[in-house]
Symmetry: C2
Subunit: 245 residues, 2 copies
């Protein structure tokens, strides 16, 4: 059963001052394309929304009134099949943008998986800004290209990789395996449950658990806590992930 907590109307606050200027996520986000001098324009549109774990940002089918930029925490996006099978489309982290799809209603649901803050814009207002600040549209097009590339990578994983290869790929794709992001080198945070990993990787939670155990036994990774893994042998993991048979 899935949490159905909505989003209270008063959760967001329009900010007066210049939040964007010291936004941690800006270097990773599309906002980076807006020059410092024009930041006040963004600030004027932005609302800050704070989410508790399990709280929904929006649900599949809701009118798509907003665009979002994740500033901290993490979010899962998912769709359901009629009989309850769930597919987690992606996990989003600081700097990720939500709302590239121009559809009138959200094509998927989005929920926080830990305490999370997002920057929210009214779609119409954001589009107006885009029409004016061309570099923002260009940045979004570039971001859309990146997302498409990531989606294709994931399709390859789902279509042709084994369970072992999927889990290895997943660990390497998470931020934290990424040297650019904050946190100790080589330590991967796993804020999501095994069940969520499974629904993302097209496996069952048992298979994910067993596979992680195999990787631990093989010394490729070491479990620091339930939500943190240390990658001990990145090259070996990469070889697995890429199916270098």
């Amino acid at each position: 059963v899935i949490e159905l907590k909505g989003l209270p109307a008063d959760c967001a606050q329009r900010r007066g001052g210049g939040g964007c200027a010291h936004c941690q996520a800006r270097p990773f986000s599309v906002c980076a394309s807006v020059p410092d001098a024009d930041l006040h324009r963004l600030d004027a549109l932005a609302e800050t929304v704070t989410l508790a774990p399990g709280q929904a940002l929006f649900r599949e089918g809701d009118p798509a009134a907003h665009l979002f930029n994740l500033t901290s925490g993490s979010v899962r996006t998912y769709r359901l099949l009629a009989d309850g099978r769930r597919h987690i489309v992606g996990f989003l982290f600081a700097g990720d943008f939500i709302g590239l799809d121009p559809a009138e209603t959200y094509p998927l649901s989005a929920e926080a998986i830990e305490p999370t803050t997002v920057c929210r814009f009214r779609k119409a207002e954001y589009r107006a800004l885009m029409a004016e600040r061309r570099e923002l549209e260009t940045a979004l097009l570039a971001r859309a290209g990146d997302e498409l590339a990531a989606a294709r990578k994931q399709m390859l994983l789902l279509a042709r990789k084994t369970a072992l290869e999927r889990v290895a790929s997943f660990l390497l794709d998470l931020p934290g395996a990424d040297p650019l992001r904050p946190g100790p080198e080589g330590v991967v945070r796993l804020p999501m449950t095994r069940s969520e990993m499974a629904d993302y990787l097209g496996l069952t939670l048992e298979t994910v658990s067993r596979t992680l155990t195999r990787l631990k036994r093989g010394g490729l990774i070491r479990q620091m806590s339930l939500t943190e893994m240390r990658v001990e042998k990145p090259e070996a993991l990469r070889a697995l992930a890429d199916g270098d048979a």
Copy 2:
């Protein structure tokens, strides 16, 4: 083993006159966003390329010098894993655009699967036109959003659907099940091989063949020829595809 025929340098011809004005694919393509009055600008940039079956448009890793618009025929795009496993990323038909990904090199290979014509643009020239004709950039962003939506649909299919559901979804997604496109109502063209369907759907060619046989036996589809299927019971097929258990 896969065909490795390249693209001869003389395959393309810069056209003088106004090909775009009577282009069959224009209503379905991003070019529709360019008003008739400005069509000569597109025409000035466009080269027509003719491809024989199996001929490559480009290969993964090639410098991404061009963007393409498919005007007739069909194309497969694919990536390979180190040990030879193939993933077909998509099948493209008239009106489809290739090159949304802003990467410097092509992230996948593209080959014709039947006699095909494409409209080719130098990336730099096209970008220059985009910078000037804003509605083109907006149309591309919208197209990117559509592609992303399609990619997510495919990820759901690969992550959570059974073989039967995958094949049913595939038959319904092909143009031809689409009432807007030309051809007799309800007849689906399958210009690709069983092996290609399999590499697209994350199955084996045997499973695809067996599944099509099941659908035929069940009277949901009828085989007209090897490359044509008639959908006899669209609702039943749709129910299967959506997993309405």
